[in-house]
């Protein structure tokens, strides 16, 4: 196995990794600020949220369907994440 420590272009330095995380957090914070900072913004009252309970409005959607989708894309593409944690792996080829 190639255990040799290879400090080549394949290795993102610690600082780069942290900067990347920081910019992602900044984007997250900006999104929230944008949502909350609109003038005259009034969050919905309890009796206005009937539509939010509809199945197509929930973030999760069909659990099994979402699992299949994530599994397929994670196997055939490089990106993953954003949805949850602790899903376990597979030898998907």
């Amino acid at each position: 196995m190639h255990e040799a420590f290879h400090a080549g272009p394949g290795k993102v330095t610690r600082q780069q990794g942290t900067a990347m995380k920081k910019s992602a957090l900044a984007t997250l914070a900006a999104c929230l600020a944008a949502m909350a900072g609109c003038a005259n913004y009034e969050p919905p009252k309890a009796w206005e949220k009937g539509n939010l309970a509809k199945p197509e409005m929930t973030m999760g959607g069909d659990a099994l369907e979402q699992r299949f989708e994530q599994h397929i894309y994670t196997s055939k593409e490089n990106a993953s994440g954003g949805y949850g944690v602790g899903g376990g792996g597979c030898g998907c080829n």
Binding site: W47, E48, K49, G50, M59, G60
Partner: protein
């Protein structure tokens, strides 16, 4: 029996008498063993409110306030009473002074059972004791206790204009907090839903026809919220073809006559009931007022014509879930 049939079989009505009317707690989707103790709790809450705010119970808060009228002594009231008095003040202001909880005593001049109009000068004698502006009501701030004083002997407070509706809301939210998701609280036709039917469909509520006791004038599908109705048929008598009902204009002591009935749909029964009463009192100006409050309504005028404003049905309210 399939699970679905079982669920439908679990639609339990617990009837009881309170506030001078027939009442029912309806709980669906739960077995009797679970539903019955919760219904009992809800009924106790209705009776608690009746005892606390009834003019007819000597120990009630309202009776204590009324007994101190003209004594120069203010009566201290708790937060719950203070909240209701603040609400009454808001109703008075928003209705141009027509909704007035000091006007209940004008009913002394009318005998609806015997069908007798006031004696000459009787109203003129009573009217000086009517007027929310005449009493002294103060409160340090929201969530605090308060002090109320009726400066003239004979002045009386009457929570009848919203007591029943308030009790319906309190009973329903109590059941909600106990985990009941489907059912309703019906206090003499003032209804507050706890939640839709167990299968998610709305309940179908009927509005009584103001002239035909055994008929309905409309049906409303409701999954959440409340329905209340005020009408000229609840307590009345007719004389020479003129109907005299129990809803009295506080300025004259005379009954209103513009509407046979007004029904309102609102999230809370307290709101719905207060609005129906104000609508009856506002008479010709009622519809503009109800429109300004942005609620659905159904009003039947003196000729029996129906005026309705879009009542929008929607599903249950919900919390945000990721």
């Amino acid at each position: 029996m399939s699970a679905r049939a079982e669920a439908q079989a679990d639609d339990l009505g617990f009837g009881f008498g309170a506030m001078a009317c027939e009442c029912e707690i309806r709980i669906a989707g739960l077995g009797r063993k679970k539903a019955e103790p919760m219904a009992r709790e809800a009924i106790d809450e209705v009776r608690r409110i009746e005892s606390k705010f009834s003019r007819y119970r000597d120990a009630s808060v309202v009776s204590r306030i009324n007994a101190a009228a003209g004594s120069g002594q203010p009566v201290e009231v708790d937060v719950e009473t203070a909240d209701l008095l603040d609400f009454a003040a808001q109703l008075h202001a928003s209705s141009g002074g027509l909704f007035d909880i000091t006007s209940g005593m004008l009913r002394q001049a009318w005998d609806f059972k015997a069908g007798r109009k006031p004696a000459d000068g009787q109203l003129a004698q009573l009217l000086p004791r009517v007027g929310w502006n005449k009493l002294r009501w103060q409160r340090r701030g929201p969530g605090q206790v308060g002090r109320i004083e009726l400066p003239m002997a004979g002045m009386e407070l009457d929570f009848g204009g919203f007591g029943k509706e308030y009790a319906a809301d309190r009973a329903a939210t109590l059941l909600q907090s106990r985990g009941v998701r489907h059912g309703m609280v019906n206090l003499g036709g003032d209804i507050r839903l706890i939640g839709p039917r167990p299968d998610g469909r709305p309940w179908v509520l009927g509005v009584q026809h103001p002239r035909h006791e055994r008929s309905l004038i409309a049906r409303i599908d409701l999954a959440d919220g409340a329905l209340a109705t005020s009408g000229d048929y609840e307590r009345f008598f007719e004389h020479d073809g003129v109907r005299y009902c129990h809803v009295l204009d506080p300025r004259s002591g005379m009954p209103v006559s513009h509407w046979q009935s007004v029904s309102v749909v609102a999230p809370a029964c307290l709101a719905a009931g207060a609005l129906t009463t104000i609508a009856m009192l506002l008479q010709g100006d009622a519809l503009a007022f109800l429109q300004s409050q942005n609620v659905g309504y159904l009003a039947v005028d003196a000729q029996g014509a129906i005026h309705r404003h879009e009542i929008w049905q929607r599903g249950e309210s919900a919390a945000v879930s990721p």
